[in-house]
């Protein structure tokens, strides 16, 4: 059966070149990078190259890159350490974020609220954009950190990061951005964008899972979140995960090398996919911003059908996709992002995210366009809601 993976925003396959680059570090140059003997020095040298590659992808200096176990750890570290440190110094206890952040940010903010921090969750408009005026107004004398995601993982909306960074800098507040979905999909430059801290994850850019990084602008003080050995310039303890770091470095190098072509390819596939679905299926909304969005993200809500059922039928046809419906998440509530952009349950239930990537072909998109309408129709014909509307129309 044909297999079409359209969930690149969840995770990407590791590129063969990346696996190739990693392999020697499992069995040959396996040394502890903190050791002074040969197998350790080789590991350390490889780590330094990787650090340069990751730094280059976001316009940073290698010394500003600290490897972590992924995007979630980077987010936790940035928020908790900055918040606790600045609060202890009497600088304030207020953070600003948005209602559409990833749970790595939202649940961390909730944990901080329990510790006595105050958090403002900015609203977004129906395309998922924050308002710069609202941001300006939310800043108080005791505001210590603004954290706004670069690109949203569900609806793909890209925030005006540079403008946010400028406001933050003008007001003397640190600016962190969760760039897990932006990395490798958008040209990022921490200087141009006025970013002080930035979270990354390798498994979204064809690198391995379990490795990420936090960019910390030189001069920005950050205390460790994970205590122990002196690794990562005494900022992040734990034996260096060399194979994964090497893989991240190689993935970052490839991402930087092909960024423009990657963006063009994905954008073309995305538009074809979106246009094809919208013209073949009635009663569906396309979410997110029309242009300021992740090049590979198509987020739709189909009326009268439920997301999990769609995913299962698509899976049966070899198509891997995801949904923000309540039933898919196994929770009472649909995605907080879909709610934040003002969609009613009628729409959120039928949520479908299709995300294309480097291994997606035109044929893959054709296959989806061939199969998806029938899946929707099949479920609609089984749906008492659709029946009711059809009845009304008849």
């Amino acid at each position: 059966m044909k297999k079409v993976y359209l969930d690149y925003s969840a995770t990407t396959p590791v590129k063969p070149e990346v696996v190739e680059a990693m392999l020697p570090y499992f069995t040959e140059y396996y040394g502890n990078a903190s050791s002074i003997y040969e197998v350790g020095r080789e590991a350390k040298a490889a780590m330094n190259v990787a650090r340069e590659e990751v730094a280059r992808l976001i316009g940073a200096k290698p010394s500003e890159i600290f490897f972590t176990a992924g995007g979630t750890e980077s987010d936790n570290w940035a928020l908790k350490s900055i918040a606790q440190d600045l609060k202890a110094k009497g600088r304030g206890n207020h953070l600003i974020t948005t209602k559409i952040e990833h749970h790595a940010i939202l649940h961390t903010c909730e944990a901080l609220e329990k510790q006595g921090f105050e958090v403002t969750y900015l609203e977004v408009d129906h395309q998922g954009m924050i308002s710069l005026e609202a941001l300006e107004e939310a800043i108080r004398p005791e505001t210590i950190l603004i954290t706004v995601m670069y690109v949203n993982n569900e609806i793909g909306t890209m925030q005006p990061v540079k403008a946010i960074g400028e406001i933050a800098r003008a007001r003397g507040v640190l600016f962190h951005t969760d760039a897990v979905q932006a990395l490798g999909n958008v040209a990022i430059d921490v200087d141009h964008d006025r970013i002080d801290l930035l979270s990354m994850s390798a498994h979204k850019i064809y690198g391995p899972k379990g490795i990420g990084a936090l960019y910390v602008r030189q001069g920005t003080r950050i205390t460790p979140f994970i205590h122990g050995g002196a690794q990562e310039n005494k900022r992040r303890a734990g034996t260096e995960n060399i194979p994964a770091i090497v893989g991240f470095g190689e993935a970052a190098r490839l991402a930087g090398l092909h960024l423009q072509a990657h963006i063009e390819k994905l954008t073309a596939l995305r538009e074809k996919l979106k246009d094809g679905i919208l013209s073949a299926v009635p009663e569906v909304v396309y979410n997110g911003h029309p242009t300021e969005r992740h090049p590979g993200n198509v987020n739709l809500c189909f009326k009268y059908v439920e997301g999990e059922a769609m995913i299962l039928l698509l899976d049966h046809l070899g198509i891997a996709a995801s949904s923000g419906s309540a039933c898919t998440s196994g929770s009472l509530d649909p995605s907080h992002v879909l709610m934040a952009i003002g969609l009613s349950h009628e729409y959120t239930n039928g949520s479908l995210r299709l995300s294309v990537g480097d291994f997606t072909s035109e044929e893959d998109v054709d296959y989806v366009l061939e199969k998806l309408p029938a899946v929707i129709l099949r479920l609609r014909e089984m749906s008492p809601l659709y029946e009711a509307v059809q009845g009304g129309r008849a």
Partner: protein
């Protein structure tokens, strides 16, 4: 995630559709919960369910629960059918994930709601329906899992 039985009834649901001149129709669930089940019954003079159809808006386990429930009660008398519990639906499906148990409850409730409609229409009384509230769809069973990526 789902048993083979669940997947079978989801992929090939039995008794999908409606019955225009149904003896009773029941609908439970609501859009904000993410599943709605509607059951149509055709009941003869001997109170035997001679035909049953369903329409379901919901996830895989909601569709599979509806499907198997219709198979389990078709040909039974109404009184027998009312003995169907969500536990039996669960067992027949080979189990459901914890967060999906409410779907089996919904199937039981939809059936009861259809019989209630039949009872109301015919003036009959079924003691098995005592205390039954078609608005209570068992959704409080939901666990607060949040997956995201």
């Amino acid at each position: 995630m789902y048993s083979e039985k669940v997947m079978d009834h989801f992929m090939n649901p039995r008794n999908v559709g409606d019955i225009p001149d149904a003896s009773g129709v029941g609908e439970v669930g609501n859009v904000s919960c993410g599943d709605i089940m509607k059951i149509y019954l055709l009941i003869d003079d001997k109170e035997v369910i001679t035909d049953i159809k369903f329409k379901t808006f919901g996830c895989g386990s909601a569709i599979a629960s509806s499907s198997i429930a219709t198979v389990m009660v078709k040909g039974r008398t109404v009184k027998e059918a009312l003995k169907l519990t969500n536990q039996e639906v669960l067992e027949a499906l080979g189990g459901l994930p914890a967060v999906k148990i409410h779907c089996s409850v919904l199937a039981e409730q939809a059936l009861k709601a259809a019989v209630l409609d039949y009872a109301n229409k015919t003036g009959k009384v079924f003691e098995e329906l005592e205390g039954f509230d078609p608005g209570d769809d068992g959704h409080h069973d939901h666990d607060l899992v949040q997956l995201e990526f």
